[in-house]
Symmetry: C2
Amino acid sequence: SKTYKIAVLAGDGIGPEVTKESVKILKIIGETFQYKFQFDYGSVGAEAIYQTGNPLPDETLALCKNSDAVLFGAIGDPAFDNNPDAKVRPEQGLLKLRKELGLFANIRPIKTYASLIKKSPLKKEIVDGTDIHIYRELISGIYFGEKFTDENGEYAYDLCKYSREEIIGITHLAFQDAQKRKKKLTLIDKANVLDTSRLWRKIVKEIALEYPDVELDFMFVDNAAMQMILNPKQFDVILTENMFGDIISDEASVIGGSIGLLPSASIGENNGLFEPIHGSYPQAKGKGIANPIASILSAAMLLDYLQLNVAAEKLRQSVEHAIESKFVTVDLNAEQNYSTSEVGDFIADYI
Amino acid sequence: SKTYKIAVLAGDGIGPEVTKESVKILKIIGETFQYKFQFDYGSVGAEAIYQTGNPLPDETLALCKNSDAVLFGAIGDPAFDNNPDAKVRPEQGLLKLRKELGLFANIRPIKTYASLIKKSPLKKEIVDGTDIHIYRELISGIYFGEKFTDENGEYAYDLCKYSREEIIGITHLAFQDAQKRKKKLTLIDKANVLDTSRLWRKIVKEIALEYPDVELDFMFVDNAAMQMILNPKQFDVILTENMFGDIISDEASVIGGSIGLLPSASIGENNGLFEPIHGSYPQAKGKGIANPIASILSAAMLLDYLQLNVAAEKLRQSVEHAIESKFVTVDLNAEQNYSTSEVGDFIADYI
Ligand SMILES: CC(C)[C@H](C(=O)O)[C@@H](O)C(=O)O
Ligand SMILES: CC(C)[C@H](C(=O)O)[C@@H](O)C(=O)O
């Protein structure tokens, strides 16, 4: 049977601690379901800068290109955050990796857990039952367009550019997902101002003809930022460009009450990268208090990507069992709580 | 004594109804405080397109340039919203007016009213006491940079560009306001990705040296979209570029529980424009149910701009009195409510 090669890039801060739990669980899943996983480790982010001067060393990139999927921890380090003039930055490692692997679609599921809803800053009746899949274009737009700063620092620009090819792939993925769900797709854009947004609308409308069972609507990004809080349940699948997706998906992450639960998948033609939405959270590093669930649910998305769907489903059930049993880290339960590895063990034992 | 020339651009949808209340109240304030106001009306938006084919007719622009301040209603019409291919659009009138009048700073105060807090989608303990001034750059950035769509509709771009001059003016305004408040200024940007954001950071840091009593901090826009919901009370004055300001300020508008209360000021060297944050709300047009308070509080910001601060303060007190007396429109009180003009009269009578 096939051996699945998984590149593990644990990265900075709490990245290594939470990724360790996911690897532990994937190993158990391998034993239980008779899958062969091979784990190969690479460095990325601040950790890689300290070791090699490069936030994405060539060996790491080669490792990822040779893998079936990448399990990613987190990047970011206060030493760089507090120094905006730093020429080499941890984030560059992630951005370059996304581009090199062609990970055009970033998918973030947003849902609520009944037992955690009281932790939401929003009222229960607003958020209860929210279930959104956000599709964010990840390797084009203003992130990767031409950039320029004049030598005197008097002016600068960033170019937001989109071509048809850059829009088509993610749009099909989003429609296909909507077909399996509530059959509603909302394109978030700023078509009353931006030419790129009008291009998105035009192409998405064309592609919509291939999915007549899916209802398509459009929402300006400013209104969407309101609607996400006023009535998140109106959304099913959201499709949007890179920069708007960055903002709207982070905003949506507050709905469930804990960012420590939210996974993401970044999908390309030949590879996928799976990472928690939360950052490197350096204050918590090494304390054993980091919530491993976002990473573990990212591992579940990795299993889905490898079409090991039964195992993915089992893993998600185990996570829900841990949450319902209140066997969780301190961010979710201040009174009685468990360490990162205890939560990982509890979830592993249930598989 | 001086005659203040006020251009009134009521615009579309509920714009005329709510603007009428503000004009009525400004006339009473003129009588009470012995100020001479001259009101001159111009057309803008969809209404102007229907009349002249132009969302900002030359006469309207000339009228505004000749005025001391512009009282603006709302623009937008479903006929255009549902037709993204329309070449002439209501929004163009507003964007051109901002640019022609040089209105570089859009200021949006966000606050809560104790008696309305239960209408917020957020929990009381999160929002109670929020008091933020958002400064959004309004006539540069991706809104006004070069735009292009190729003739086959295969690719498009929008250029986000900033120069030092375009950043300095609004930055000083924001720091000066912070000095009068809690002395905290947060620059929202995406300096880990964008050259323009790094230019903003650099220049804002330089200008900060002139305001040593103000604490300056930086926040990435994705994190800011989370923080605005998790803990809005951490913000005092927010400074940001055009596109981020559009998104973040609309998001922040949910905090108080009603967008029908939120005013804005757009300030330039020689003119100011004052408009409610809400749109044209066409469904409510002509029904007498539109909340006039956002427009009336915009009129209060207009008075401040004309340095008629005592009158502005009195007007704000009258509005608070109406809110506390629950003499409000249906959006704020479903059981017992009053019409647009009844609320306007109540506020006028208290002056
Ligand atoms: C770290 C940063 C460059 C990145 C982004 O903006 O894409 C992050 O915010 C994310 O959303 O994964
Ligand atoms: C109507 C639209 C062009 C405008 C903008 O994006 O600036 C509006 O959303 C606003 O914030 O005043």
